[in-house]
């Protein structure tokens, strides 16, 4: 299927990726070619076939819920981005509006 640039812009928006004008243009052409190639799957009859999400021959394997040590706070914060740490916290921009 040939797609137009609005499709690329919409998917990039959902994926939270800022694209340049040039990228939108290029990806639109390239992804049209790829989508056209995968369209061929329509030729395969899958009427009575169930989907495979995993090739493992089991499902719903249970285990005991045991408490184990995880990362320490310091370890978890160790790779915080530049300007992304505030003491014991990750610093993020405000997402909630203050109540009047």
């Amino acid at each position: 299927m040939a797609i137009d640039r609005s499709v690329v812009e919409k998917a990039a928006g959902l994926a939270r990726i800022a694209l340049t004008e040039d990228e939108v243009e290029r990806f639109t052409g390239q992804l049209s070619v790829v989508l056209k190639a995968v369209e061929r799957l329509k030729e395969v009859d899958t009427e009575k076939v169930s989907p495979t999400a995993s090739v493992l021959p089991v499902s719903d394997v249970m285990r005991e819920d045991e408490i184990r040590p995880g990362l320490s706070r310091e370890e978890a914060l160790a790779n915080a981005p530049k300007g992304g740490r505030d003491g014991e916290f990750f610093r993020v921009q405000q997402v909630l509006e203050e109540r009047p």
Binding site: I17, A18, P81
Partner: protein, 486 residues
């Protein structure tokens, strides 16, 4: 000593005979890696390697050291290493230093193996040429103008150029076997669920698997024995098979074995005559050793590519959502949080990663989910069924690894579909969860060709047996790029 020994086996004999120390091998590997002209390395861990080598020497003196003690190796930079940078070949993880190691690394540490450093790769393992690395392409030691294959290009080159004795890579659609073929070494992808992926940067979780590059089939099996086996941290490791017998059948030969030759693998567009010639000669060799070759049909081979290029980007788009600039990696701040996400990911990811994020997001989005993702999963079922049926008739399949030899850098970089076709023979193996190995089977136009052996799930021993029988009878695994000769 100016060159590393030819194999893990040979090196371990030298170490035990006190003809070389682990520290000498480590220094030699570090020297050779530092002199590498192929951009195979992203980070050399000198001090860490020396420390491991000294500990290995102590262990060798005490006796009872495992086979891998003191053996220098290279780690694809998508596998997490404690206190040693891990970038996945991406700007978005530049400067990231894991606080824990992947289970496979811990297991090699426990064996006393010596990690020399981290190798270059296509960003997040997305690529078949190693041109998608944010840190520059890797060059093929057989010809510097050509790609080494990908995505584990640096690991393949580190072994091919004699810089280490083995390497780890990851294989989602051929990322170990294809670069192994294009650089003339052995590369192997285990059965899905046989190697722990804890601590490995996730790409497409129903397909990813860690595996070795090595100089010989036996060496690959030695590494597998060290890294296989259950890990409570990996929920895909549900089957528990013994892992200490992978070398048991290496010397048994192929007499009386039934080997399947899928006819569709020889009729794809773009198959080079020189590759077909080398692979046909390999089939003849196996036949002359007493194997019974049977033509089989895998009619959905062509559709594998379409299934793969829906499922893999879909899973990747979900896995890579975690790179949001909040907890680790790059952050490019915008006026609000949404804009911070968009800018961080827009600037942090390279073009191929963005293409796949967009493709995957599109295939999973409302209105397209059934037509693309569910449809691909259904055809995946049919592909897996086809392999299951074939393995009722044959013990293993023998095929080309890649339709071409190493191609020129830049030749396919603007044509994603042409690039994706490199993996046409390897990705159905991931789709079906099977083990596969590539072994060198001669040259075409002076460049290496790979023979792929595919076995049924958990039948690595059978796969190694066929590969070893071929290797024993031919000199191809001994061929090395000329510029690397001392």
């Amino acid at each position: 000593m100016t060159e590393l020994p030819r194999s893990i086996r040979e090196a371990s004999e030298l170490l035990r005979a006190r003809k070389a120390s682990a520290l000498e091998l480590a220094e030699l590997a570090l020297d050779r890696s530092r002199a590498d002209r192929h951009n195979a390395w992203l980070h050399l861990s000198d001090d860490h390697a020396r420390e491991q080598a000294r500990a290995a020497d102590a262990r060798l003196r005490d006796g009872n050291a495992p086979l891998l003690t003191g053996i220098p190796w290279a780690c694809k930079d998508i596998i997490g290493t404690k206190k040693i940078p891990t970038t996945a070949g991406s700007r978005i993880l530049e400067g990231y230093v894991p606080v824990y190691s992947a289970t496979v690394v811990e297991r090699l540490d426990a064996q006393g193996a010596v990690m020399v450093g981290k190798t270059n790769l296509d960003e997040f393992a997305m690529g078949s040429s190693n041109e998608n690395s944010a840190f520059g392409p890797v060059k093929n030691p057989w010809c510097a103008e050509r790609v080494p294959g990908g995505s584990s290009g640096g690991s393949a080159v580190a072994v091919a150029a004699g810089e280490v004795l083995f390497a780890l890579g990851t294989d989602t659609g051929g990322s170990i076997r294809q670069p192994a073929a294009l650089t003339g070494v052995v590369g192997m992808k285990p059965t899905y669920g046989r190697v722990p992926r804890w601590g490995v940067v996730a790409f497409a979780s129903s397909l990813d698997q860690v595996g070795p590059f090595a100089n010989t089939v036996e060496d690959a099996a030695i590494v597998c024995e060290a890294i296989f086996g259950k890990d409570p941290n990996d929920a895909t490791m549900v089957m528990d098979f013994p892992n200490d017998d992978l070398r048991r059948d290496l010397d048994k030969g192929v007499k009386g074995m039934r080997l399947g030759v899928p006819k569709e693998y020889f009729s794809v567009k773009g198959m080079e005559p020189g590759v077909e010639r080398a692979v046909r000669a390999a089939l003849k060799e196996l036949e002359s050793q007493g194997a019974k070759l049977e033509e089989v049909s895998l009619s959905l081979t062509d559709h594998g590519l379409a299934v793969y290029y829906i499922i893999q980007p879909a899973e990747a788009s979900s896995n890579l959502a975690r790179y949001d600039g909040i907890r680790y990696g790059l952050r490019v701040e915008g006026p609000d949080l949404l804009e911070t996400y968009r800018r961080t990911r827009g600037q942090g990811f390279g073009p191929e990663v963005k293409r796949r994020m967009i493709l995957g997001t599109y295939a999973l989005s409302a209105g397209y989910y059934d037509a693309y993702y569910v449809k691909a999963q259904k055809v995946r079922t049919l592909i897996k069924d086809e392999y299951d049926r074939v393995f009722q008739k044959v013990d293993a399949l023998v095929t080309p690894t890649s339709p071409t030899v190493a191609f020129p850098i830049g030749a396919k970089v603007n044509d994603p579909l042409a690039m994706y076709l490199n993996d046409i023979f390897t990705l159905p193996v991931n789709i079906s969860g099977l083990p596969g190995i590539s072994v060198p089977c001669g040259l075409s136009e002076g460049l290496p060709v790979g023979l792929q052996v595919i076995a049924n799930s958990y039948q690595e021993r059978t796969m190694f047996r066929v590969a070893a029988a071929y290797e024993r009878a031919t000199p191809h695994h001994l061929e090395r790029p000329k510029e690397e000769a001392a």
